[in-house]
Structures are given as structure tokens and as C-alpha cells.
């Protein structure tokens, strides 16, 4: 890591060569990026640029600050870097001495303190060193572009725009972009293209208004949710329960979110909005100082970073962690309570918002504030309601944008409710009348425009969404857990849609059916892709537990065998099968990918064979495939043990790759597999890969393995004993490890003879079944289903 510490070191070409470059299209005008300001945002943006394989210069005003930021990021969780190699692409330096490093940059991003004077002073410096035609942008979250270009020349204004990333920059998909009247169209196009394809962001054009889209609306929502909770006497738990699941907001709700981002941030945001918005704006009108919050800030109870905010945790008498919540009236902590409101138990949003209890009244009040405000801001802050909704979904992780929420409530109901309360009905809402903001017309999703007409929700060129495919027609085949769709050009898409996309007998049946249909010529290539957050969390262990509890061992074994058959059929398909995962691909979900002819993975894919966590071993060919991959890896040492040792280490510790790049290092993905940064482009990229593979596609041969047998098992046992001496192995870990060792070493085989694949698969089944019959494994499964966490028994 010498390139990230001490004196600045420029990333060499050789380093750049070893870094992943798949995310950067050839001919991209952005080949080197500069970031000034190594705070959380600046450093995080630099890391994401490096993740994309682009060399990046990171400068800070404080001497050594950038190098320290890089070091801190290597230890941070969630990790800003997708793999350690990415950090080598970051050249850290000081603004004082290393300004000249920016001369080679095609795009320079400013991410310093939110003070217009400081930013303008920096721009004067940057303007002096940057190369002609290079693009400059600010990561400001509140300052209008007009104020930033003040005093600079025309050439600066032509090359300048605002690119507002969300925290953390690696994980949040929104990029708000503001162009000035003078900004060059090519600059906008170049940054949009780079941010979209290389950084994986959805670029939403915003008007030059304070807070742009997401923070303007999100800020008002938080303000309203706090004000109304205090006015109506709700507890923080009640407010958060209502401000989360009912409206599709993450479970932190509002107070939990404030704990996460830092309560002390509130006065800064409020001051900035007050300074830039007119006094008549509802945001400014609603600004209030709450004594309870001022007291918290004064006492340093600013949230999770300070070990306490609206929620805190204390050690109980038995050392257990107890959750406590702040009483908004007294400002003191009390035991946290599960909210019990009738309005919370209802399913329908409008029914909830019209319920007479204080929860219903609260929900109605906040929704009227939020949705009335959002409807009044189009076209002030954005050209379309679709852009506003996308910004809120991607920038705040809301499931629904405000206009989608209005459709759930009914636009006419909202207009009437606003009128009943004597509040203005926004013109856009009034114009919509009894209609809805979205509709599907001839299979195309359309939104209601400010011109009073419906327009198709635009998709960038080359984007293919399964949701759009699904609106257009019926699946080729469907059951309760999976569907098969025609995505055009002779390519089909197999989609999982059970809970968490867990794999059950229906999923396996659809896998088998898909292969059969492909063999009959229904399509020429298959993509396996799911649109939800997770690709698949693995086999449905709830079903396995149920079957074990009634001792239906035969049924379980036939499900294991059925899974193996389905996976083998997938691999042997005479047409290309391309996995297109994003999010978690664990256990059986991972095994599906291991049997695809190729994988095009979203960069944010978390793959792993995690069966050991529930006291099992991979039973659908996961062990066999990992042995084969390591045996065939030209960089691994030869001999019978290295593949076994590698597979054993990974599977016994239930390692999960924390990015697609890490998955390649672990051989869960092949070197030839592709990585897509923009989630919306994943299906199109996978389809293109599948189409390219059709001609001359030959399924892989299944050559036998050469496994070390009892000697190898003895070696693995010794390794486990060493870990046990360090207290890292529980009693049942030993049992699981021993079963895994027997499977991976080929049982009674000797390394002088070949072990047919079918024999290793039989060992997988035998090991899986033996473990499932142990009470300790069943306890692990039960615990995982109940708590979502592994049991260390």
C-alpha cells in the first residue's frame, strides 16, 4: 500500500493494468479523475472512481489528510473499496504541494466545506492548473450553481457543473446533476455517461434550486415527521414504525435515520435552507427549534457516532444489550417499547392515514406535508415526477417516490384532504384530478407530465429492465417461485420471485423446465436474473427444517438430489446460460451461478457458500465446482491438496465475497465473467453476453477430479485443531468441518486414482444428510430462521 501513504506517488501504468478496467468503455474521455477534499464524501467518491479502474488523485487541504483518509477507508465497514487493489489507484496528496497533480485530470470533483467563499477561492486555484477542456464539478448539497461560478470566467462556467453524490458514494445509486446556462453539452454528456456506466449511478437532472431534489424533499419529510411527532405526542418508536414500512421507507424511520446521519447535522441543514429558500417556502415555515433536540446536541448525544441519540443501548444485569429510547417530552431515556397502535396493524395506506388514532392522525399530517410539498415543486426542482420519484428511491432508499405514494393514496383523495385542511392544492395535483401520476399504456409505463399529457418513463439507451418486459406481456412459463420471460432476440430470462428468492422445489422445477424448453428451441440463450434486492439467499432452509422435524428424510434427500440434477442440467445445457446476479447470492443461489456458462454480475454482488453457518455443507455441486475451479486455476500450486485447502478454507468459514471483484479473487466468479456497475444495465449486459456466446457454444466436459483422500483429511483436521487452540472452533464447527473435509478430499479415494464427479456429488449428499440429522445443525437452522443470525454452538 505504499502508494497510499506519505509522499504522493502516482499510480503507474502497470498498476492501472492490473486494476479492473471493465467498467470504463473504450474511448471514454474520462481517463483520470481528481477529487479535492478528503472528507467522507470526497474520499468515498475517489474510492468509487478507483473501484471502476480509473486512476484518481485525492487531495486534501490538511497535510497528510488524504493519505490518512485512504488508510481509514481500507479499514472501514461498509468498505468504500470493492477490493484492496482499487486503493492502489488512488494517489493521495496535499492541496498545498500537489496541486499540479490535477493538471492531468479529465474531471476534477470539489468536495470541500459547504462555504461559497471557500469553494470559489479553490476554483481560482484549480482553474490555474487544470488542463483545457477538463471538467470541474462541485459535490455541494445546497449551494446554487449560480453562486459557485460567480467571479470566474466564461471558460470556467462552460466546464462547470454540480454532481451531488449521496453517502456512502459506493453504495448509494443517485447522482443529482445540475448544469448551468453556460455548461457545455459535451461536458454534461461525458460526465453523465461516465457516472452511469463506470460509477454505476443513475443521473437525475435537477434544476439549480437549493437542496436539489432529494434533500429538499427528504429534509422537509424529516422536519415534518419530527414536528408532528412532538405535536401529536408520539413516541419515537411509534413515529419510526409509521415512517417506515407503511410508506416504504427503511426501518430506521425518521429518528433512527437521524441517529445514523448525526443529529448535529440538523441545524446546519436548517440554516443553509433558511439562507437560500424564500421565507414563504413551507420548508422555511416549518423550521422549528425543539428544546429536547437542542439539549441532546448540547450534551453530545448526537447519534450512533456518539453512542447514543434517540436510541441507545445499555448493558443489562446479565451483560445483555438492552435497547432504550428517548422520551421526547422529558428528554430522558426509558426502556424501548414495541409500538401498539391499531393504525399500524392495517395494511392499506389510505386506511392507515384515515384511522382516528394518533398514529393515523400523524401519518395523515406527515403525508399531507410531504406529498403536498413534493407536488408543488414540479417543475421548480425537476422536469418530471418520474425524476423526483427516482431521486427519492435511489437517494433515500425509499421503496416509493412521493408521486408513487400519491397514487397509492389516490391523488383525488390527497387533493380533497389538503383542501379540507385549508391548505393549497398544488396546480399539478389539481390538474391530475381523478387520475394517477403513473399508468401503463400498451405495456409501457407512463408518467403525468406538467403539460397535462402522459409520457413514457424514459430509459437511457441500452437499459433493459425486467419490470418493463413484464408490463408488456405474459411469461413463457410460471409457477409460485419462478417465471420465465422472453426478453427478445431469442433470449429468455429466468426470474426467481419467492420470499428472498429462496430456492425451493418450485424454483428447481422451473430451472428444469427452462432447460427443457431451451432444448426444444423455445429460445437460444438463457439469462438468470432477479429484480429484487437479492439474487437469492439460498435454499429454503425453512422447508428443510420442517421436513426434518417430521423425519421426512427421503423427501429431503430427493430434494438435494433434485437440486444436483437441476444444476447439472443447467451446466450441460446446449445453449448458453448467463447468471446476472446483484445483491446476495448465497448458498444455493451461489450454486446456481457456479453452474452457469458465464456470469455478468453487478459490482455489488455478495456471493458465498455459507451453508456452514447453518451447520451444513453445500449439497448442490458447490463443493465439487469449487474443487474443480481451484484445480483448473493456472495460478494455484499443483498437486491434490491446494484445491482442497482453498475450498475448505472458504466453505468452512462461510466466507462471502463483499463485491464482484472479491468474488473473482475467490474464484466464485471466473476471470472471464463480466462486472456491470450500473444495476439498470445488468440485464442488458447479460443478454448481450448470452447472445455473443450462442455461436459455437459447447457445454463444459465433466472431467474427474484427483483428490487426496485420507491424507488430505488428516491435514485439514490438523489445521482445524490449530484454529481450535485459538478458540475459533465451536464443538459443532468441528463436526461440520470433518464432514466437509471428508467430502472435499474424496472420502476413501487415493490421489493416484481419479474420482468421478458423481462420486463427489454423492459425498456432498451424504454429508449434507448426515449433518441435517444432527440436533446441533437443526438448532442452527432454527436460530437462523428466527433471528437471521448464525448460532455458534
Amino acid at each position: 500500500m505504499s502508494g497510499t501513504t506519505g509522499a504522493p506517488m502516482v499510480a503507474t501504468e502497470a498498476q492501472a493494468m492490473t486494476a479492473p478496467t471493465g467498467a470504463v468503455p473504450p474511448g471514454s474521455p474520462i481517463r483520470r479523475v481528481g477529487v479535492v477534499g478528503a472528507g467522507v464524501m470526497g474520499a468515498g467518491i475517489a474510492a468509487q472512481v478507483a473501484n471502476a479502474g480509473i486512476p484518481v488523485v485525492l487531495l486534501d487541504i490538511v497535510a497528510g489528510g488524504a493519505a490518512r483518509a485512504v488508510q481509514a477507508m481500507l479499514r472501514a465497514e461498509p468498505a468504500p473499496f470493492m477490493h484492496r487493489g482499487a486503493a492502489r489507484l488512488v494517489t493521495a496528496g496535499d492541496l498545498g504541494g500537489d496541486l499540479a497533480l490535477l493538471a492531468g485530470c479529465d474531471w476534477i470533483i470539489e468536495a470541500i466545506i459547504e462555504q461559497p467563499e471557500a469553494k470559489r477561492a479553490l476554483y481560482a486555484q484549480l482553474d490555474a492548473v487544470r488542463k483545457p477542456g477538463s471538467i470541474l464539478s462541485s459535490n455541494t448539497s445546497t449551494i446554487p450553481l449560480a453562486a459557485l461560478v460567480e467571479g470566474r470566467g466564461d471558460s470556467f462556467a462552460m466546464d462547470f457543473l454540480i454532481t451531488h453524490f449521496f453517502n456512502p458514494p459506493r453504495y448509494m445509486r443517485l447522482l443529482e446533476m445540475v448544469r448551468g446556462p453556460a455548461t457545455r453539452a459535451e461536458a454534461v454528456a461525458a460526465i453523465s455517461e461516465f457516472a452511469d456506466r463506470s460509477l454505476g449511478k443513475t443521473v437525475i437532472p435537477c434544476k439549480d434550486r437549493p437542496g436539489f431534489i432529494a434533500n429538499r424533499i427528504g429534509g422537509l419529510w424529516m422536519q415534518s415527521a419530527i414536528n408532528r411527532a412532538i405535536d401529536l405526542g408520539l413516541t419515537v418508536e411509534e413515529a419510526d414504525a409509521l415512517m417506515s414500512r407503511p410508506i416504504g421507507v427503511p426501518k430506521t424511520g425518521v429518528f433512527g435515520l437521524l441517529d445514523l446521519v448525526g443529529i448535529d447535522l440538523m441545524p446546519h441543514v436548517a440554516a443553509s435552507m433558511k439562507a437560500t429558500l424564500p421565507g414563504t417556502d413551507p420548508y422555511v415555515q416549518g423550521l422549528r427549534e425543539h428544546a429536547v433536540i437542542l439539549k441532546m446536541i448540547a450534551e453530545g448525544r448526537t447519534g450512533r457516532k456518539a453512542k447514543g441519540g434517540f436510541y441507545t443501548r445499555v448493558k443489562g444485569a446479565d451483560g445483555e444489550s438492552l435497547k432504550r429510547a428517548l422520551d421526547l417530552t422529558t428528554g430522558e431515556y426509558r426502556e424501548s417499547e414495541t409500538p401498539r397502535l391499531e393504525s399500524l396493524s392495517l395494511r392499506d395506506l389510505r386506511a392507515q392515514a384515515t384511522h382516528p388514532d394518533r398514529g393515523g392522525r400523524y401519518l395523515r399530517a406527515v403525508l399531507l406535508d410531504l406529498l403536498g410539498y413534493a407536488a408543488s415543486l414540479v417543475p421548480e426542482i425537476a422536469d418530471s415526477v418520474a425524476d423526483v420519484d427516482a431521486a427519492m428511491r435511489l437517494g433515500y432508499n425509499w421503496k416509493y417516490g412521493p408521486f408513487e405514494l400519491i397514487d397509492r393514496l389516490g391523488a383525488a383523495w390527497l387533493a380533497r384532504a389538503l383542501a379540507e385542511d385549508g391548505r393549497p392544492v398544488p396546480p399539478l395535483l389539481a390538474r391530475l384530478g381523478e387520475g394517477s401520476f403513473y399508468r401503463v399504456e400498451a405495456g409501457v409505463l407512463e408518467y403525468f407530465g406538467t403539460d397535462g399529457d402522459y409520457h413514457p418513463v424514459p430509459r437511457p439507451a441500452g437499459v433493459l429492465l425486467l419490470a418493463d418486459v413484464k408490463r408488456r406481456g405474459q411469461p413463457l412459463a410460471r409457477n409460485g417461485s419462478a417465471s420465465l420471460w422472453d426478453i427478445g432476440d431469442g433470449v429468455a430470462c429466468l426470474e426467481f420471485h419467492s420470499k428472498m428468492n429462496a430456492i425451493d422445489p418450485d424454483t428447481l422445477a422451473m430451472l428444469g423446465k427452462s432447460v427443457a424448453m431451451g432444448k426444444q428451441g423455445a429460445f437460444k440463450a438463457l439469462v438468470i436474473h432477479t429484480e429484487g434486492e437479492q439474487f437469492s439467499v439460498g435454499a429454503n432452509i425453512g422447508l428443510a427444517l420442517f421436513a426434518a422435524n417430521i423425519a421426512a428424510w427421503g423427501e429431503i434427500e430427493s430434494m438435494v438430489e433434485g437440486g444436483q440434477k437441476a444444476m447439472r442440467a443447467l451446466r450441460a445445457a446446449p445453449f448458453p446460460v448467463v447468471g446476472a446476479p446483484s445483491g446476495m447470492a448465497l448458498g444455493g443461489g451461489c450454486e446456481v451461478l457456479l453452474h452457469c456458462a458465464a456470469v455478468q454480475a453487478h459490482a455489488e454482488t455478495y456471493i458465498g457458500l455459507v451453508e456452514a453457518g447453518v451447520g451444513l455443507i453445500p449439497g448442490w455441486g458447490g463443493c465439487t465446482t469449487m474443487l474443480r475451479r481451484w484445480a483448473e486455476n493456472p495460478r494455484a500450486p499443483k498437486g491434490p491438496m491446494p484445491p482442497v485447502a482453498k475450498a475448505f478454507e472458504m466453505i468452512s468459514t462461510a466466507q462471502v465475497a463483499k463485491s464482484a471483484f472479491e468474488a473473482k479473487e475467490m474464484l466464485l466468479l471466473r476471470q472471464t465473467d463480466g462486472i456491470t456497475f450500473n444495476h439498470d444495465r445488468l440485464l442488458a449486459d447479460a443478454k448481450a453476453r448470452a447472445l455473443a456466446m450462442i455461436e459455437g457454444h459447447v457445454p463444459p466436459e465433466t472431467r474427474p477430479l484427483r483428490l487426496p483422500g485420507a491424507s488430505g483429511r488428516a491435514a485439514l483436521r490438523l489445521a482445524v485443531e490449530q484454529q481450535a487452540a485459538l478458540g475459533r472452533v465451536t464443538p459443532h464447527d468441528r463436526v461440520v468441518c470433518d464432514t466437509l473435509a471428508e467430502t472435499l478430499t474424496g472420502g476413501r479415494r487415493d490421489h493416484t486414482e481419479e474420482t468421478p464427479e458423481a462420486e463427489v456429488l454423492a459425498l456432498e449428499r451424504k454429508g449434507f444428510m448426515a449433518l441435517l440429522r444432527t440436533p446441533a445443525t437443526l438448532a442452527r437452522v432454527e436460530h437462523m430462521l428466527e433471528t437471521g443470525r448464525p448460532l455458534r454452538n
Binding site: P637, K638, G639, P640, M641, L718, A725
Partner: protein, 378 residues
């Protein structure tokens, strides 16, 4: 009988495996560079050398085949010279000296290049394909016990506290740092070239090592143990070469010997306390030399772990003041196959430098044995 002498001693700098400056240097190339430098420095005609005897603990991969003969080719030594690779784990290159001494005594040659090498970066400890005998592993698992476990067993058996072990490691680093600072290591180190750049300095020594710093480390091998990464020798890359010859050969080639080999010994012990191997081996070697431990002026005792080094000194009644004057393996590093030649060469060099009559070089060996060499001033 013909006297056998250590006529010359050279070694590469020692560096941490996986993160040091020798990671990218193949072990055969590293050893060849050191052997070539030794031959050049002594000015001998390599055609007069009988054999190149190479110690290596994991002779596979780039240390594989018959590495000794290959190293002779890489070093440009004449085809007429033999080459043999010997393995006694950590004692491998001391064994090379013993083998050469025995051959000289029986008239099977006059001059031998005794070398040792280990790249623990490039060939892992346990090798690429560890495949223990399953029956033995079941019946007698200590045959394959990890070295760290043995160090814990010794610490427990001899009731060595964490503080005692930490203190020993601090002293090892302090002695090595002083030797480095005062240029006392220059006489033995020959720079090696890695990708066109010379590496001339040891890389494992940490002059800033303190008891407080070591006190913060977690046990490395047993949850409730006392042995840490700071009181164990590090995984190391390095190579060593000695010229072992008859006194007559040295005289006729104008060489000034460092010391003569007085006696040698090996002895087995229980594998679970392999660190105590030097005790019996030393007793045997001292008896064969007809001297007692108190007669020793200089001692090189390999510091595989602080616990076993302290326990061996206690058992043998050797004062620490005589031991590892320029630091030991905890500070300098322990490239398994190379260490035996290093401490034998070092003991000979120290005997000449410090004066005195007898020196001892001894070390413990994984699997349960010890090896010792008694040297006498010339």
C-alpha cells in the same frame, strides 16, 4: 585426524516473508547469488570444491528437484562439482556442515560449499501439498504438531511468564539493532539483487521494540497462551553459504579460518516440546568435545521462540550474556533451511571477533529433535 574448519561465511539480508524485499526473489537465485559471492570473496578455484551441500526445509517448487545442483549452475560453478540437497527442517544447513565435516574426516573431499535457503514467501511452510499419514496423525498427532503449540507447551512446562518471554524478545531486537547500527553485520551480509536493485540490509529487525509494545499483542497460537507473534521468529526469506574445508586446504589457499569444528551431535526428543531439542544435542556435543557448558565463550542458540530459548538456557546452565551477541532469530528472522548455516557461521565469526576458545551453535527442530555444533578457535 584432519581438522575441519569454517573458512568463510556469507549470508543474504533476511527479510519478512510475504511483505519484505525478497518476496520476488526466487530462492534458487537467492542462494546462487550468495554462493557466488562467497566463492568470489574467498578467491578459491571452485573446481577444487567437492560438493555443494544445500539445506532446505521444504525442498519443493522453486526449492525443488535437486536445488543444490541447480544453484551451482545458476551461480556459474563448474560442472565437476557435485550437489546434494539435505533436509533436517530447521537443522538442514547445520546438517550440511556436519555432512561436509564427516566427509572431510573420512577423506571424501577437501572443500565443501555448505549452503542453506528458504523462501517462506514462495514455498509455504508445510509445503504446497501437506499430506500427513492418516494413521499416524490419528494415533500420534504430536508428530504433526504446530510449532506454536510446542512453544506454548514449553512455556507451560517451564512456567515461563509472558513478561519473561517479551523481555527476551526485546533484548534480541536491541542486540540486533545495535549490531546493525554499529555495522557489525556488514562482515556477513552480501547484498542480493532483486529485479535489478540491490538489497543490502536486514529487514526484520525492529529497533523500536519495547516490552509495552509486545505486551499489547494477542496470543498467536493458543487462546489462553503466552506466545505471541512478537516472541516467535518471523516467517523469513534468506540464504546462507559457508566454505567448510580441511585446515590444510585453507592453509594452501591462503584462507584464514574462522574456527574449527570440534564436535557435532543430533538428538531426538518429544515432538510436543521440540523446542527443547538443543538440550540433549548440546550435552552430547559437549561430551564429545570433552568440555562443559561453562567452557563455552560464545553461544548461538536459535531463537525459534523466546520460550524454548529461555528454557534451553536454563536447562543447560548457560548465561544469556554469552548468547546471540548480535541478536537472534526473533529479531533477525528464521529462514528455516538457512538458519543452521547462519548460526554456525556466526558462532565461528564471533569466536574470532570476541576471542575465547569454544563456541556452540545449536537449534531445535520441528518434529522433535535438536542439533549442535561445538567450534574451537584456531
Amino acid at each position: 585426524m584432519t581438522d575441519v574448519v569454517i573458512a568463510a561465511y556469507r549470508r543474504s539480508p533476511f527479510h519478512f516473508a510475504h511483505k519484505g524485499e525478497l518476496v520476488k526473489l526466487r530462492p534458487d537465485e537467492m542462494a546462487a547469488q550468495v554462493v557466488r559471492a562467497l566463492v568470489a570473496d574467498t578467491g578459491i578455484d571452485p573446481a577444487t570444491v567437492e560438493d555443494l551441500v544445500l539445506g532446505c526445509a521444504f525442498p519443493e517448487g522453486e526449492q525443488g528437484l535437486n536445488a543444490a545442483k541447480l544453484i551451482a549452475f545458476i551461480a556459474g560453478l563448474p560442472e565437476s562439482m557435485g550437489g546434494t540437497t539435505v533436509n533436517r527442517f530447521c537443522g538442514s544447513s547445520m546438517q550440511a556442515v556436519h555432512q561436509a565435516a564427516g566427509a572431510i574426516h573420512m577423506g571424501a573431499g577437501d572443500a565443501f560449499l555448505c549452503a542453506g535457503v528458504e523462501s517462506m514467501s514462495r514455498v509455504p511452510m508445510m509445503g504446497f501439498n501437506p499430506m500427513p499419514h492418516p494413521g499416524l496423525a490419528e494415533r500420534y498427532p504430536q508428530a504433526y504438531i504446530s510449532m506454536g503449540e510446542t512453544a506454548e507447551n514449553v512455556a507451560r512446562r517451564y512456567q515461563l511468564t509472558r513478561a519473561e518471554q517479551d523481555g527476551f524478545a526485546v533484548r534480541s531486537h536491541a542486540k540486533a539493532a545495535a549490531a546493525q547500527r554499529e555495522g557489525r553485520l556488514e562482515a556477513e551480509i552480501t547484498p542480493v539483487e532483486v529485479a535489478g536493485k540491490p538489497v543490502a540490509q536486514d529487514g526484520c529487525i525492529r529497533p523500536e521494540t519495547s516490552a509495552e509494545g509486545l505486551g499489547g499483542l494477542k496470543p498467536a497460537f493458543r487462546q489462553d497462551g503466552s506466545v505471541t507473534a512478537g516472541t516467535a521468529s518471523p516467517l523469513t526469506d534468506g540464504a546462507v553459504a559457508l566454505l567448510v574445508c580441511s585446515a590444510e586446504y585453507a592453509r594452501s589457499h591462503g584462507l584464514t579460518p574462522l574456527a574449527k569444528v570440534k564436535s557435532v551431535a543430533v538428538a531426538g526428543c518429544a515432538p510436543e516440546v521440540m523446542g527443547m531439542g538443543p538440550v540433549e544435542a548440546t550435552r552430547k556435543a559437549l561430551a564429545r568435545a570433552g568440555i562443559a557448558a561453562r567452557d563455552l565463550d560464545v553461544v548461538e542458540l536459535n531463537e525459534a521462540f523466546a520460550s524454548q530459548a529461555l528454557a534451553c538456557l536454563r536447562e543447560l546452565g548457560i548465561e544469556e550474556a554469552k548468547v546471540n551477541l548480535d541478536g537472534g532469530a526473533i529479531a533477525l528472522g528464521h529462514p528455516l533451511g538457512a538458519t543452521g548455516a547462519r548460526i554456525t557461521g556466526k558462532a565461528a565469526q564471533l569466536l574470532q571477533r570476541e576471542g575465547g576458545r569454544y563456541a556452540l551453535a545449536t537449534q531445535c527442530i520441528g518434529g522433535g529433535q535438536g542439533i549442535a555444533t561445538v567450534l574451537e578457535a584456531v
